[in-house]
Subunit: 236 residues, 2 copies
């Protein structure tokens, strides 16, 4: 962060970043709780997770209000502007991560204890561990202004996608083998997709952290391939 | 829009709203093209749709830059601030609508002509017509500053959800009847979910238009029920 003669400005920027970090911690906890609730078929934990998401929405609104206030009062430029824009964009991504966690928790309730594809659930667990480690790493990179760590997160995004594609195929196989599992496997398909998207949000955050720290965009090459290709669509 | 002594300020606000309207028109076209490509199994149209989404991302970035510029230079308050914040939030929703359309287009390519569940495709078509009419109505409400029209859009959101829930069950039935249809029906499940989410974005936009025009939030009652309930999760 660049130095300012007005110390309350620094204070405002610190507060903004602090709120984003708070959102990040809460988003991580929600994803963890939702997946734990899914694996243990814990309906009570699922209900709690759903309710907690409201706090993320509140935090995002606070961040938006602070964002507007700082831009209007300080007319930030350069590094400061990048800090503030990154905070706003990362808060957007974290709010969506919370929605995805909430959606998984709702599916725990829809499945209602009828989850007997333990093997499939393990696949979801493995995938969620990786997505959560990505989310944690990128939030650390944000706090420590570590561009290299952010870049490493983005480069690992393919791993989550690869597990997702393999899990998608596995779930379709279970559906074909036993039609009674079709409903629960359909819910698991959506849970897996949600986790894959949580991984995508970690990647978005990584790109924003990189830009915030360096003022440069991460190379667009990988993304360009995805735009016209099917890298994020499971081909069964 | 309130009157300003500095006419270039009005010009800036008009330009911002014009860009949002442009995004809206493009987002509608992408959804329409993606669903048409799905129903006619038109791979070429699907590829074009995927490429066009990049323009939506560009427009969103332009809107974000204008947003920052106006807030920094004009320190907007009251009605002006609401106009500007609505523009930023609506641009976010429209960017996501474009992503969902792109995802449908990618699934057209993944299905690769192997769509023989015409009945299921009709369900998707019916749902997308309704979601598109919602999107069109809310964009008109934005342009004409019509709070009542925005409220009407939000009240019709349940209709898209109801069609989605029924389509979800229908698709699971097709899967159970004929395991060879499981893969294509899984892709259609995701297409249907994407369209349901496009309907949700129309609802978000409606809430923002209502707030922009009236300075009041739409009653939160319906939303509160959804937060703890499963209104947006299909129960098969």
């Amino acid at each position: 962060m660049s130095e300012h003669t007005v110390s309350s400005y620094d204070e405002e920027l610190r507060e903004l970043a602090g709120r984003v970090a708070e959102m990040g911690g809460l988003a991580e906890a929600l994803v963890n709780d939702a997946v734990t609730a899914l694996l243990s078929q814990d309906l009570e934990k699922a209900h709690k997770t759903i309710l907690q998401d409201a706090r993320l929405d509140e935090l995002q609104q606070e961040i938006e209000a602070k964002f507007i206030r700082i831009v209007a009062l300080r007319q930030p430029m350069g590094q400061d502007l990048r800090e503030i824009m990154a905070a706003g964009r990362i808060a957007n991504d974290l709010e969506r991560v919370g929605d995805l966690a909430k959606n998984i928790a709702k599916r725990v309730i829809a499945i209602d204890g009828d989850l007997n594809s333990k093997k499939a659930a393990f696949g979801v667990e493995h995938m969620s561990e990786l997505a959560l480690s990505q989310l944690k790493a990128v939030l650390d990179a944000y706090t420590s202004h570590d561009a290299a760590a952010a870049q490493a997160v983005r480069e690992r995004d393919d791993e989550v996608d690869a597990i997702y594609t393999s899990l998608f195929r596995e779930l379709l196989t279970y559906m074909m083998e036993d039609p009674r599992k079709i409903t629960q496997c359909a819910h698991l398909l959506f849970c897996a997709k949600n986790i894959e998207r949580i991984g995508d949000h970690a990647t978005n955050i990584a790109e924003n952290v990189y830009f915030m720290v360096t003022g440069k965009q991460l190379l667009e090459a990988r993304r360009k391939i995805d735009e016209t290709g099917l890298a994020d669509i499971e081909n069964a």
